[in-house]
Amino acid sequence: MDITQIDAITGEVTERTYTAEEKSDYDALVAKAKIKLDADIAANEAKATAKAALLAQLGITEEQAKLLLN
C-alpha cells in the first residue's frame, strides 16, 4: 500500500494505494528529487576529486590535512 492514514479523532487506520492524481503528484516529486540528487552527487564527486588531487599535489594524507586545519 502507498498511504497509511490515521484519523486523530477516531483512531481509525486506513491503508490504500494512491489515486491517479496522487500517483501523478508522487511521480513528479520523485522525478524532481532525482534531478536534485544527481546534481548533489555530481558536486560531491567533483569535490572529492579536487580534494584528492590537492592532497596528492601537497604530498600529504587526508588525516595530515585535518591535523593542519585543526
Binding site: I3, Q5, A8, E15, Y18, Y26
Partner: protein
C-alpha cells in the same frame, strides 16, 4: 425641581432622580442603589447594585444570575498541548495523520524515521497539498564544519525534511505550525537531523522556517519519501487549540 419624562402622550413626574426606563414604573434612585467605589447599576426586576469584582476579574454575562451578569476570572487563553496521534512510519511512501482541524498550533515530531533504499529524502506536506504553497527559509549545517548560507525558496511544493544514505540511517526532528486553524497564511518552523546524507558518515541538520499559503485550515499532515518505502520510525502530532 421635579424631573419630567415624556411617556408618549403626556409629561409625567419622575420619582427619585429619573433612573427608570422611558415607559417603566417609577424607579429607584441611582444614588441610593450604587453606593461604593466600583459599583455597577444592574437590573433584574428592579435596579440592583453589583459590587466591583476582585482585581483581574472581568464582567461576564451569566443567565443564571438574577441580574444576568457577574464578575468572573477571564478564560484562559494560553496554549494547552495534548498529543493527538502517533503512527509508525514503517510502510508505504506516504504516512498521514488526519482529523487535525480545530487546533491553532500543531507540532509534528519525526522520530528515527528511515527508508529502505539508498540516498533518498523525506518531505512534509499539509492537507496533501502539492501546490506551490510552501515558502521556505533553509539553513543547512552539514558535518558540523560545513555550514551553508541560508537560502530562501518560494513556491515550493513540499517542505524538505532531510536525506539519508541508506536503510538504518535515520531522520528525527520537529516542525511547529502556527495559525493552523485559520484560512490565512500559516507559519512553520523547526529543525531536523539526519544521520547519513550522501554517505553514511554525513550528518546534516536542516533548520527551516517559512510560510504555507494554503487557504484551508490544516486538517492533515503527511510525511512522504521518494524511496520505495519507509521502514522504521514514528510520526507524532501534538495540538493546542489556542
Amino acid at each position: 425641581m421635579p424631573v419630567k419624562r415624556y411617556n408618549g402622550t403626556d409629561w409625567v413626574t419622575v420619582a427619585g432622580d429619573g433612573i427608570q426606563g422611558p415607559t417603566g414604573p417609577a424607579g429607584a434612585s441611582a444614588t441610593t442603589v450604587v453606593t461604593t467605589k466600583g459599583d455597577l447599576l444592574t437590573y433584574s426586576t428592579t435596579a440592583a447594585r453589583l459590587g466591583v469584582g476582585s482585581n483581574g476579574t472581568v464582567l461576564t454575562a451569566d443567565s443564571a444570575e438574577a441580574t444576568g451578569v457577574k464578575w468572573a476570572a477571564p478564560a484562559a487563553t494560553g496554549a494547552s498541548w495534548s498529543q493527538l496521534a502517533v503512527t509508525a512510519t514503517t510502510s508505504g511512501t506516504t504516512v498521514t495523520i488526519s482529523g487535525l482541524s480545530g487546533y491553532n498550533q500543531l507540532y509534528i515530531q519525526f522520530e528515527n524515521v528511515s527508508h529502505n533504499d539508498s540516498i533518498k529524502e523525506f518531505y512534509l506536506r499539509m492537507n496533501a497539498d502539492s501546490g506551490t504553497n510552501y515558502n521556505i527559509v533553509n539553513f543547512l549545517i552539514r558535518n558540523a564544519a560545513s555550514v551553508s548560507s541560508g537560502t530562501y525558496n518560494a513556491a515550493q511544493t513540499e517542505i524538505y525534511l532531510g536525506r539519508t544514505a541508506s536503510s538504518g540511517n535515520t531522520m528525527s526532528g520537529g516542525i511547529l505550525i502556527n495559525g493552523a486553524n485559520s484560512t490565512g497564511k500559516k507559519f512553520f518552523s523547526g529543525f531536523m537531523a539526519s544521520v547519513g546524507d550522501l554517505v553514511n558518515s554525513d550528518i546534516t541538520q536542516p533548520h527551516i522556517s517559512g510560510t504555507y499559503d494554503g487557504t484551508s485550515v490544516i486538517s492533515s499532515v503527511s510525511i512522504v519519501t521518494n524511496a520505495p518505502a519507509f521502514d522504521a520510525g514514528n510520526m507524532r502530532v501534538f495540538g493546542s487549540v489556542a
